[in-house]
Symmetry: C2
Subunit: 215 residues, 2 copies
DNA sequence: TGTACATCAGTGAACGCGCGTTCACTGATGTAC
DNA sequence: TGTACATCAGTGAACGCGCGTTCACTGATGTAC
């Protein structure tokens, strides 16, 4: 990332091993959930001793935080790619769904059950608002309809959020609605709560998306 | 519950201790998340030795399953109470929100990140559909509007779900939408994803609810 | 090009911990005659 | 009402395990002259 030209072989190797550790970590999380992540287990799978990993990650929490950061980063990148080929909410919605289905436990790493004590470092919340900015941009492009609702007045009154963003309250509202509605469908789908109900989750997702475009 | 009159003192005592164990379990989950639940820790807090709890619960997983069952049961009961004082979606919505806010980790026990291997026993899925039945009842009372959408045709075609329930596809759709939209707002709110955004989650919740009543 | 030194990856032993769970046992509570 | 027996709650020791993490050390890789 920084000073790409001056990478020594050792640096390359470091990055490669770090990446391999993360890959095993993701596998382990996908298989047994984030709470089952174990440095020793990862080391064993890589044919190394446990303490070796401390050359690469300061602690178990450090590794998890990196995985969370990577997850946010990955979604932000996908949104960026989607926004480049036409800025509309539909494109972002399908980018989100594809991203979520590709690795459900990664989705839950970000949007799942919070660990009561945990607070994400600042740079991660930065990426989170980067993601919201894509939604805001796409929402601003649509025309506002009708008078501002009570909630939109509330939004206008205390918008600590998106401080610099020029979006009007109706766009803020639309972005929020977009986020929560799609999360509602996606998270229940990924958690298996639609199992046995017979219908096609993709169609439901699209129906919700259509409802968003209308208003 | 069963044969209430014939309870011996020992049975009473058993139930009391079981209840106390669960209470400590709930506290522990509220404080550190469900993955941190430990039988030994609970025993210590109750001034008992660890193995003593095996008189009351067959295993740690058994205790967790009971807590999940209790959570479903509790929500179903609240829905029942709400439905008695007027069957409308708004009443159910606020019952849901109150129930969720009363104990966020209990909400996540049901609707949060799934543990990849876990499958709930049949009686629990039974309570889950009992809960959905309340939504369906309330949804059926509202008139259908406009022609059936593509998704509603899909619902009609493969409704393994709610087999005996007489709800038309439009009502099924409405119940699902109700569920996922409110879950979308609630789960992100409880997970703290609205923190620092300044707006009032309750107003946002009500705005989503209003959107549901309209259509 | 060769040697001396510094850097750094990885090991193995160890620490302390808490976990779930089993088991043989004690002691109190309830039951039957 | 009193005694003999059965039931059952709870204990303490123990098993085996895996965890995160620290530390002193070995050996390989890179760097400087």
């Amino acid at each position: 990332m920084a000073e790409t030209g001056t990478k020594t072989p050792r640096e390359r190797y470091r990055e490669q091993v770090r990446a391999e550790v993360k890959e095993h970590a993701r596998e382990q999380i996908a298989t047994a959930g984030a709470s089952a992540l174990s440095l020793n287990a990862i080391a064993k799978r890589m044919g190394m001793s446990g303490p070796a990993l401390y050359r690469y990650f300061a602690s178990r929490d450090d590794l998890i935080t990196e995985l969370i950061r990577d997850a946010y980063r990955s979604l932000a990148d996908d949104f960026h790619a989607a926004a480049e080929s036409g800025t509309d909410l539909s494109g972002l919605a399908h980018a989100l769904r594809d991203w979520a289905l590709a690795d459900p436990q990664r989705y839950f790493l970000i949007y799942g059950t919070p660990v009561p004590g945990y607070h994400a470092p600042d740079d991660i919340t930065g990426i989170a608002s980067e993601i919201m900015a894509f939604l805001l941009d796409a929402s601003t492009e649509l025309p506002a309809d009708g008078p501002a609702s009570a909630f939109e007045l509330d939004l206008q009154a205390h918008r600590h959020w998106a401080g610099a963003h020029p979006a009007p309250p109706a766009a803020l509202h639309r972005a929020l609605t977009f986020w929560t509605r799609l999360h509602g469908v996606l998270s229940l789908e990924l958690a298996g709560h639609f199992n046995g109900m017979g219908f096609d989750p993709a169609m439901f997702f699209d129906a919700e998306l259509a409802g968003l475009a209308e208003r």
